[in-house]
Every structure is written in C-alpha cells, then in structure tokens.
Amino acid sequence: MTRLPQIKFPHSRDRPVRKVARSLRWFLEAFSSQVNGISSETGLHFDIDKQKLRTVFLTWVKLFEAQKPSEPKQKIGYITFSAAMMLSELIDGNPIRIIRKPENANTDIPLYYWPEGYVYVAFCMNVRSAVLAQDLNIDVDAAPPFDDIRTWWSFRENAREDSSTAIGFFELFVGDDPKWSGPKLFSPSHAETNTDRMLERAQKHLTD
C-alpha cells in the first residue's frame, strides 16, 4: 500500500468528516489545503478557480443526496461511491490549472504525468480515508494501481472522454473491484462485495 499525500482538514465544530464534507466552506478549504500540500512537496503550482469548485460541490451534493442508501452495510459502500462521484465531478469541472512545474519533471510518475488528476484523486481518497478512520476505525491507503503509470495513461485518456469512468478507476486506486457499466448508479450488491473485501483487507492488515 502507498501512503497518500498529506492534507490538513479545516475546523469542523466537532462534526464528523462524513457530515462536514457536505459543507461548501469545509470542502473549499479542505481542497485548497490538498492543493497547497501537494504544491509545497512537489514544486507544482496550481491556480484554483473557486467558482468552478463551488459548482463542482453543488452538483456533487445533489448527486450524493439523490442516491443515499438507508441500510447500514450499504452506507459503508456509499462512502467509496460518493468519493468516486466527487472525483468524477472534479474531473468534469476541472477547477484547477497547473501554472508551474519543475523543469525536467519525470512524467513517468503519475503526479507529474497528470498533476490536476493526481490532486483530484488524492483529495477524494483522503476524504474517504478520513471518514473510514472516524466511522469504522479502519486505516486505509492507496492500492498499487495508484502508483502504476500505465493505469494513469488509461485513466486520463478515458476520463477526459467520459468523466464517469473515473468512478471505476477510483475503485481500482482504493483496491476495490471496479464497476465499469453504469458507474454513476449506486449498486448496493457491488458496494457490499467491495465492503466485505475492504473489511477483510483491514483485518489482514491488523494481523500482519
């Protein structure tokens, strides 16, 4: 497993991340923190379009509310699904733009190959892992495809053509089985299978 880029989450008045992630203020500040964190570690500099970022959030929050399940086990699967939906909306709205990158940056590294996409994936994975850590006490990191440049070649090409494919790639990056057909529709059975796998991995991680 790979460690995710650092992020500093904003104040939340003791609300759990699961809830406060649905607040526009929190989302804007958390996302900016992710961008700044990656900038200071890598020498990449980005410009953030706040208006586009607000639109991304407002579209995402409607999609989130529209399919929210009530079954407890499905709710766990919905954490990954809604983070993946956020990634799809970020790619669609594309609220950041790279304005400077280091000379001779190695584009065989996903971060330098597609900096904007990398920031979006890192942010969504960090929010997901914070929710899982708080709600289920599970520590999760990225799966091997997150570092695999060939996966990123395919990811960028597909996501630029159809941003909903980002949902399947997100599942790959977190170690789940991807669902490529109808990715924007939440499938409780698919989510439950992936939840079982995630819980097994977490159990194995604890006993190793």
């Binding site: 904003p10 104040h11 649905r22 607040s23 526009l24 203020r25 804007l28 958390a30 639109t55 407002l58």
Partner: protein
C-alpha cells in the same frame, strides 16, 4: 403606509428622510441616464441642450442634498463594510443577544443585500435603510421560539414582501425578469448568510457571503417555484443551512 410601518418609522425618522432623499436622487439619476441615452438629435436645438443641462443640474442638487443629509444625520447605517467577524455568533445571528444593536444588524443586512444584488447582476437597485431596520426589528420581536431555518425564512419573506428594494413590486413582476430574480436571490442570500452557523473552516465573512450567493443562485429556480406556489421555504432553508 400601514400603521405598523408608521410605528416603526417613528423610531428612525432620520432613516426615512435619508430614504426619501436617496429615492429622489435615484429617480433623477435614472431619468438623466435615460435622457443621456436618448437620441438628442431628435430634439430641436437649443431645447435638447437646455434639457440636458437641467437634468444634470437637478442630479447635482439632489446629490448635494443627499450628502448634506448624511453629514447632518451622521450616516444613519454604517453599511459600507462587512460587520466584524465576532458580530455573528456560533449559530449565526442571534436577535436576542443583548449586545446586538438592531442598527448594526440592519447595516449588515443592507450590506449583504446590496452585495448580493451586484453579484446576481443588478448594481442599480435602490435599497431602503428603513425597511432593513424594520426587518431586523421584526426578527427580534418573533425570535424567541424560532429555529434558524424559521428565522431565515421569515427574514427572506419580509425583505421581499415589505419591499426593501424600492421602486420595484415583486408581487406584480414577471418571475423570469432579472429584477425579480435579483430581488428574491438577494433576500435569500442575505437570510442564509445571517443564519448560517459559524466556526466551520476558517474563511472570512466575505467568503461565507460568496458561498451563500453561489448556493442560492444554484437553487433560485426551486425557490421561485415554491414561492409562486405559495409554499414555505423553511424546509429548504434547513437543507441549505446544512450545506453552506
């Protein structure tokens, strides 16, 4: 003017004077603007030139009168800037807090409304300081049992129904017109800003107002639809307060 309005107006006669002068000046400016944009070649000279000079003179006199009234009265509402961050409590505006002077809240409301109107596409709306104060005072009279969403709903409806934006009648306006949308959008933005909880993230009041405006713009069609159907927007405020 109805009796309740007369009763409130007695507490703030200087605001009424200012509103009247600003209304007069607004009307003059709009007429002058219309005249300046008209094709003066259609008027025989020297009538066109004389009329233009008269209009400009009236504008300058009305401007002077407004400035004089401000200096005499002392600028009734300090409405040109955002209120201090500490003005709003953890749960937004509290009309019952002992240190929340209605005039300070009315100034904040005036700022929020005029700022939102500009963001939503109108920078020439005339706002009444008197009615801003009345809306805030009514909140204080009814706030003891109200939740944040109830108070926000009451404030937004009051701003629209009591016509804080002067020289425009929302009830008779086309719901698709820009002025109608700006009036409703600004009222809902300011009300959401007033009652949004604070302490989430570290952004400024200006950021918060920006966010409220973006949320209301996104929900404006739904708000207008609910209002047109005579429904209440209190439940909607509950949802919106959660996502600010």
């Amino acid at each position: 003017m109805d009796k309740s309005r007369q009763a409130h107006a007695r507490h703030a006669p200087e605001l009424l004077v200012r509103d009247a002068l600003r209304g007069f000046r607004y009307a003059v400016r709009r007429s002058t603007h219309l005249f300046a944009n008209a094709d003066q070649s259609t008027l025989p000279q020297p009538i066109g030139e004389i009329t233009s000079r008269i209009a400009k003179k009236i504008d300058s006199v009305s401007q002077e009168a407004e400035y004089m009234s401000s200096s005499v009265i002392g600028g009734p509402l300090k409405k040109a800037a955002l209120p201090d961050k500490a003005f709003f409590g953890q749960d937004g505006y509290d009309p019952n807090a002992a240190d929340r002077a209605p005039r300070e809240a009315a100034a904040a409301l005036y700022f929020g409304l005029s700022w939102s109107a500009r963001q939503l596409g109108c920078d020439d709306m005339l706002l009444s300081e008197t009615i801003c104060l009345e809306c805030v005072e009514r909140l204080g009279n009814n706030a003891l049992q109200g939740s944040a969403s109830e108070m926000a709903d009451m404030l937004a409806c009051d701003i629209i129904d009591r016509r804080a934006f002067r020289l425009f009648a929302p009830a008779a306006a086309d719901p698709q017109s820009l002025r109608f949308r700006v009036t409703v959008g600004s009222a809902y933005t300011a009300a959401l800003w007033f009652f949004a909880p604070r302490g989430i993230a570290a952004g400024s009041e200006e950021d918060l107002l920006d966010n409220c405006c973006a949320i209301i713009r996104d929900h404006l069609d739904r708000i207008i639809q609910i209002r047109t159907g005579s429904g209440s927007t209190e439940r909607l405020f509950e949802e919106l307060i959660d996502i600010v």
